[in-house]
Symmetry: C2
Subunit: 482 residues, 2 copies
């Protein structure tokens, strides 16, 4: 997938989305050069750039394009040091830093004084193109996002465009950036996407498993002290009838005791790919002394973080569709446009949830408190549990306060999962490290609903209903036209 | 890897191996046409064959070459029905049927009256070529093996040459052969191979995981009642400090109880690939109603089965090298050539072992007693536990009886594994189905040692020592010349 190169993104912004055009008209004076879309001169300069970094002997290769601020903001002073950064700032590579959680995290870490680089092949944007989907919010190209960030904060985030399944790309990125920590969001992250057809199932497992293997090899070969912070999912555990622990469980059996990896029961090819990753990473910690933290994240809701709300060009993506949309975000959009909230089956499915502001906080806590060499550390990254029914009820009440008439319907469950079950998952380790949770509150729901209402003209009603079936997945490729 | 086509194998037999040439001189009259190696007329006919089968509407595609007996033994009567087969015989596709366990199994099932086909890309032979390894025993091409089998028994085993990672090939194979059971040996099966370099690690996980995903999709799409009999490994469990159960463990935790997948702790990229497979298969049993049996096999020893010893051309492979050789087989070869037995580290590593005659028996029992629709059944397939030290001691005693002076040396352990540990693995389910174990006896060891002595002129001393390190694996590809 390394053919997905940087130039494709610059062009995307020249599309004729009305609401976005309006947003552009209101751009503040603090980002004077941001909206020079698709400058062919700038684009060409980026593509041919053979950059020599002053303090590191690095030559950018054709497939690895560290786009430093020098080439992006032509008004820059020429320094590539961030204002708050020092020579000793931790260097963090955010793999998948153009995505929903990755983008928010990259900005948060940059703001916190880390030296940040993003590695991304931008394929999440391609998925939208291919499936005919789009973010509720207009999102700028990664190039313009980073220009804006530099303009607002003086901080540079380096950009490496390429595919981590391409080991040459990843090698060059590691050798060039020399990360102290690698935060790995760079996976296909939708369960329904992985269940569309055989090709997507195979893509998801190949992409996620091999990409992660490559990251492990890159750390071993080039940066053996680099701390891997890997995004897992609470979905790896499934819904066992006993309490879910954080990664490990102590079992006494026939009079003997051992602490073993917590048994996994994932229920989509996507969730399974994360289980495979966890097993692979655990092995390399033991065999090679890799230091790793596996963040088994719950369902993320919300869109704003302190950093992304600094400017419209920094706005995060917000998915509400049946493939990439997560439960609460989808409900808010449904309420905003007068569509009934779609509860799958009985609605008793209970999961862990967290605000995206806690995602970025958790990742920063993991980086600031790294795993030991050889340690495979697992944190359950969520703050509260809700059933789907409880979420629907909360969204209904919030809608009513805003004068919306919110209905709920049960739709046939496209997934194969228990719809009523015991669920009690531990999540104390990140609290112990200092996490201050943003619990789901009336005010957050109000804000999220208002956000959805603000962008409701952009809602494509055809995207709302689930159209991927766990049972009906077949071998015939599903094309966009099908 | 689908470029590994049939013609490459016919040619291999024209090599100038002395001991094999001798064996050929002694071929019995019952296989008159077997040694017409590399017949270009036959090879060409096979490649262009567009076969119409009489009872099934099947056209062989270019990538799928069902080589029926008509094209193989030109003296054949023209019937493609086996003598003992009936219209109701179970049809079993043996994926990887040219390998060590697969070949023995295919013959055993054919002898038992099953209608058998082999699907194989023959890549195991390519691994030997690339790494400069060879079986202790001379092995015939798959084409000649099948001709011989037909000649001796009148039974046809169909052959599909191709790669199950190529879904078009696999689809055509399923549609053409219409299996009632698929026995899946078609994986890269060496832990050291998976630890040679990054490329082999990635190959192993991709090949095994995607191949198995494809088999699951093929069953779902084309033969939903087909019983998948998948070869797993006891190595999936690692060496926990509690008893190893067969696939599942009942856990009581904080006052609640559930039966969950047994926690896995695999310790090579190969073993991990089998864990990934198990998780993927379990999901599809639940989501799609696949019926599957996972055979977590121990270390296999021995070479002869009732069927492979019927004729030299049917002889199985026997690996003694540091990459593909398994412990007891390796010790016998070392004893035969006067090389010290190489014990890795402390030698307390304890594993389950079984005779290859029990491998074929277990697979047949699994097929004859299929899993229910939706059931993911796990059997631990071994008959006895031994530590490496115990095996070395047994081989030493057997060698002394034959007048050999057998020494043992401890070599630095190339693997990362516990060298002294608790080990107690359950293995009752196959016994309950009727397995009659061939336990490791003095007579078997005598026979195995004599076998090794018989072929000792073929031993390449350079292959004996382990040369793959779990800790030193790197990203630079290891070439044969390195």
């Amino acid at each position: 997938m390394s053919h997905v190169l940087s130039t494709s993104c610059s062009l995307k912004l020249s599309s004729s989305r009305k609401s976005y055009s309006r947003a552009l008209d209101r751009h503040p004076a603090s980002c004077p050069t941001l909206f020079n879309f698709g400058s062919s001169r700038g684009a060409l300069r980026r593509l041919v750039l053979q950059e020599k970094r002053t303090q590191r002997s690095c030559v950018a290769h054709a497939a690895t394009i560290p786009i430093s601020q020098e080439s992006l903001t032509e008004t820059s002073s020429g320094s590539d040091q961030t204002s708050s950064g020092s020579a000793k700032a931790q260097r963090v590579l955010v793999i998948g830093g153009d995505g929903y959680c990755g983008w928010a995290t990259a900005l948060h870490l940059s703001k916190k004084g880390y030296e940040v680089a993003i590695a991304d092949n931008l394929i999440r944007r391609l998925f939208d193109h291919q499936l005919g989907l789009d973010s509720l919010t207009p999102i700028a190209s990664i190039h313009n996002r980073l220009r804006c960030w530099k303009s607002l904060t003086g901080k540079t985030i380096e950009l490496y465009i390429g595919d981590i399944c391409d080991f040459e790309f990843l090698s060059e990125t590691f050798k060039s950036f020399e990360p102290d920590a690698a935060v790995h969001f760079g996976e296909q992250r939708s369960a329904p996407y992985s269940m569309i057809d055989r090709t997507r199932a195979v893509f998801t497992q190949h992409n996620n498993v091999i990409g992660t293997l490559n990251v492990l090899f890159a750390i071993k070969e080039f940066r053996e002290q680099c701390h891997l912070v890997k995004l897992g999912t609470m979905g790896e555990y499934g819904t066992p009838n006993i309490d879910i622990e954080e990664g490990y469980i102590t079992i006494t059996h026939n009079g003997r005791t051992d602490t073993l990896p917590y048994p996994k029961q994932a229920s989509s090819f996507y969730h399974l790919s994360k289980v495979h990753d966890s097993n692979n990473i655990a092995f390399t910690c033991k065999a090679w002394g890799i230091r790793a933290t596996d963040l088994n994240q719950g369902v993320v809701y919300g869109v704003r973080t302190d950093e992304t709300e600094m400017h419209k060009v920094l706005c995060n993506r917000f998915d509400y569709d049946g493939v990439f949309g997560t439960a609460l975000n989808r409900f808010c959009v449904q309420a905003a446009v007068g569509h009934p909230l779609t509860v799958y089956g009985k609605g008793g499915q209970t999961r862990g949830y967290l605000d995206i502001r806690d995602t970025v906080q958790c990742v920063e806590l993991a980086i600031a408190n790294p795993a030991e060499s050889g340690e495979f550390r697992v944190f359950n990254q969520f703050t509260e549990q809700f059933s789907v029914h409880e979420l629907a009820s909360l969204a209904t009440k919030a809608g009513e306060k805003l004068g919306l008439d919110v209905k709920t319907i049960s739709v046939p469950n496209p997934r194969v999962e228990a719809e009523e079950h015991y669920y009690n998952a531990k999540h104390t380790k990140l609290i112990e490290l200092g996490l201050k949770p943003h619990l789901l509150s009336d005010s957050l729901l109000d804000s999220l609903l208002n956000f959805a209402i603000r962008f409701k003209d952009r809602v494509d009603m055809k995207q709302i209903m689930p159209n991927v079936s766990w049972r009906k997945i077949g071998v015939k490729p599903k094309t966009a036209a099908a």
